[in-house]
């Protein structure tokens, strides 16, 4: 897979938990242009093990001198975000993928309602640049815990003006999804990115109000969950691999030197899908890609976030 060599040009602590990183190309040339809502996967080497995490690009897609991402420190994570916060310094070289967009704006939409919770604001930062350039009709609804956690509220107020609506838990101002989504003109699209309960509530409210499925958009990258260790057999490579508690299946496959396809590594894009040849136990599907019936069939698995229980899992790889 093609990767881009970048170096860290700046790091800014924007809230107690969020750091903003600026990347430029290592050779000083321009970065590829991208579309609002895109992300890159950042590779970091932690004690000899490569972690790859997806982060939304926050800058304007029209600016290709630098890329901007923000990382929230996740204490219970497997170390990726903590490493980004504590060990990544200005000047450090990193490898990132080309931008990928799994959360693009519907260009034919008549109106766009963007709903962000906390760090979920990041993909909207680049989308807003696109919406403003296109002169589109939009509203940004941004919910966060307390004033000091509103990472980009001031900056957004400046660029979005009256289009921005903030909801702050500590001030007891709350977003009323029912009211917001029940009074929108035909042709409106809704986009949500944030903590799981917020995403689920938005999707359910919109569906219950009869919104067409293709007017409802969400993005929620998953971190590979920590779980019980298990073993996998790769049929074509003819090897057996142990997947430890803190590793994902995909990481274990890569660590064993077997090349596997991937893109988002967050259970969204579908690129790393593998065929299951044999299994004697349960597959623990954690992805947002496979349909419920595909999950139930036990014929396919997304190794970036899913796990297994049992003695035998044979994959077509």
């Amino acid at each position: 897979m093609s990767m881009i060599n970048v170096k860290v040009a700046a790091i800014e602590q924007v809230t107690p938990l969020v750091k903003h990183f600026t990347f430029v190309k290592e050779d000083g040339s321009s970065l590829p242009a991208f579309s609002g809502g895109s992300h890159v996967v950042v590779s970091i080497d932690i004690a000899g093990r490569v972690h790859r995490n997806p982060y939304s690009l926050m800058g304007s897609p029209m600016e290709n001198e630098a890329y901007h991402i923000s990382v929230r420190r996740q204490e219970n994570s497997r170390g990726g975000s903590v490493f980004m916060h504590e060990n990544v310094t200005v000047g450090m070289p990193l490898k990132i993928t080309y931008p990928v967009n799994l959360f693009s704006l519907a260009k034919k939409g008549r109106k766009h309602i963007l709903i962000a919770g906390g760090i979920g604001i990041t993909p909207f930062m680049s989308q807003i640049a696109d919406l403003k350039r296109m002169g589109a009709n939009y509203e940004l609804h941004y919910a966060f815990r307390s004033p000091e956690h509103g990472a980009f509220a001031a900056q957004l107020k400046e660029s979005c003006g009256d289009h921005l609506h903030c909801y702050i838990d500590s001030n007891a101002t709350r977003l009323d999804l029912q009211a917001l989504l029940s009074d929108q003109p035909l042709g409106t699209h809704v986009y949500v990115c944030g903590p799981s309960p917020m995403v689920v509530a938005t999707l359910e409210t919109a569906r219950n109000l009869g919104w067409p499925e293709n007017h409802i958009h969400s993005e929620q990258f998953l971190s590979p969950p920590i779980g019980e260790p298990f073993k996998i057999q790769l049929a074509r490579s003819n090897i057996e691999i142990q997947v430890s508690a803190e590793m994902s299946m995909l990481e274990a496959i890569e660590a064993a030197g077997v090349e596997a396809d991937f893109l988002c590594r967050g259970g969204v894009c579908g690129r790393c899908e593998l065929d299951v040849l044999e299994t004697d136990g349960a597959l623990l599907h954690n992805d947002h890609f496979l349909t419920d019936s595909e999950k139930a069939s036990c014929k396919k698995v997304m190794p970036c976030v899913s796990r297994a229980k049992g003695e035998r899992l044979v994959l077509d790889l």
Binding site: A33, P61, N214
Partner: protein, 346 residues
């Protein structure tokens, strides 16, 4: 790399021909003795020097004549260019992709100078030089996709990526194998592939769509497709069927080697950065049976492929009328020698 552009026609008197070098580099599409649909997609990386895949877009000896033929077709039927309003970002992405690639790969023919958003484009073979503001449509005499699409060989369709599928929402199509942009514009992937026999049942179209939805910026892909055309005609469109459909009746055992052309499409697909759309580029190469037979390996291979062709595909590719005659003509070149897998001429 061609620096001598031929003067030739793709209609009426059909003076089109391939030089020896053009025959040798022809993208022969059959690596095996039998043909069946597959998702034969591979990365569009730099190919061998002199091959049609050496550069991002291939410019060959037919460049000037093809652009002239495209101009005639567009004048007669402006509907061969279509672009829905939400595709303007994709149009500019396309301008950037093509101008940058041509200027880099063929500096003797094309140049692109940028001063911020003020770009100057020069196309020497066609005698074009224009300065415009990137992103500002009012600074070009035509829509950006129309402007540069006329300066390239082959057809281009811009696919919008939404609702987990691809929509053909813009196109400049003048060298098509019997399909209509005016009919297909705005259609989704499954709609426009509906008529392809057997492929849907094989699951080929679903697999290909899934693959393309994950197409990445900076990692274009390519595949070859093929059909057969009577006479070296680029514009075999349904709109102009009366002009070419009847030419099938002129084929006989004496002239078949000159008249029947293998028509190969080098299809390339690129993810566009700002629009997240995909460019589907369809570049048509034509070669008659006689020129194919100058390489015995190709003649033998083509004979076997055609002899074992599924009847549905013979019908779909419009070969019914001359297919038995073509197999007979090719048979005399085939001594039954075992051929190794591969498309090379010798």
């Amino acid at each position: 790399m061609a620096s001598n552009f031929k003067k030739e026609t793709f209609r009426e008197d059909y003076t089109y021909s391939n030089s020896d070098a053009a025959i040798k580099r022809f993208p022969f599409p059959f690596p095996e003795d039998q043909y069946m649909y597959s998702v034969n997609i591979e990365p569009h990386t730099k190919g061998k020097q002199g091959s049609v895949c050496e550069f991002t877009f291939d410019i060959d000896e037919h460049y000037v004549a093809e652009c002239l033929d495209k101009k005639i077709t567009l004048e007669q039927d402006p509907g061969r260019y279509q672009a829905l309003p939400h595709m303007m970002d994709a149009q500019w992405d396309f301008v950037e992709l093509t101008m940058e690639a041509l200027a880099q790969d063929y500096p003797e023919h094309f140049s692109l100078k940028k001063q911020g958003l003020i770009w100057t484009w020069e196309n020497k073979p066609l005698g074009i030089k224009d300065t415009f503001t990137f992103g500002d449509t009012s600074t070009l005499a035509a829509e950006p996709f129309d402007y540069i699409g006329r300066q390239l060989q082959g057809d281009f369709v811009l696919l919008d990526h939404r609702d987990e599928t691809l929509y053909a929402d813009a196109g400049i199509v003048t060298s098509q194998a019997d399909w209509s942009l005016a009919f297909n514009v705005g259609m989704s992937w499954r709609e426009w592939h509906g008529p392809v026999p057997r492929a849907t049942e094989l699951g080929v179209m679903d697999r290909a769509l899934k693959y393309l939805l994950n197409l990445q910026i900076g990692s274009p892909v390519r595949r070859l497709n093929w059909t057969m055309t009577v006479n070296p005609r680029l514009d075999t469109s349904p709109e102009n069927y009366p002009h070419w459909g009847g030419e099938r009746n002129t084929v006989n055992a004496e002239n078949i080697g000159d008249l029947i052309h293998l028509r190969v499409e080098l299809q390339t697909l690129f993810r566009l950065p700002r629009s997240n759309a995909i460019v589907f580029s369809i570049r048509c190469y034509l070669i008659n049976l006689k020129d194919i037979a100058t390489y015995p390996r190709w003649a033998k291979r083509l004979h076997r492929v055609q002899k074992t062709m599924h009847p549905d595909l013979i019908e779909y590719k419009g070969m019914t009328k001359f297919h038995p005659m073509m197999v007979d003509w090719l048979a005399k070149f085939d001594d039954g020698e075992t051929l190794a897998i591969g498309t090379q001429p010798e």
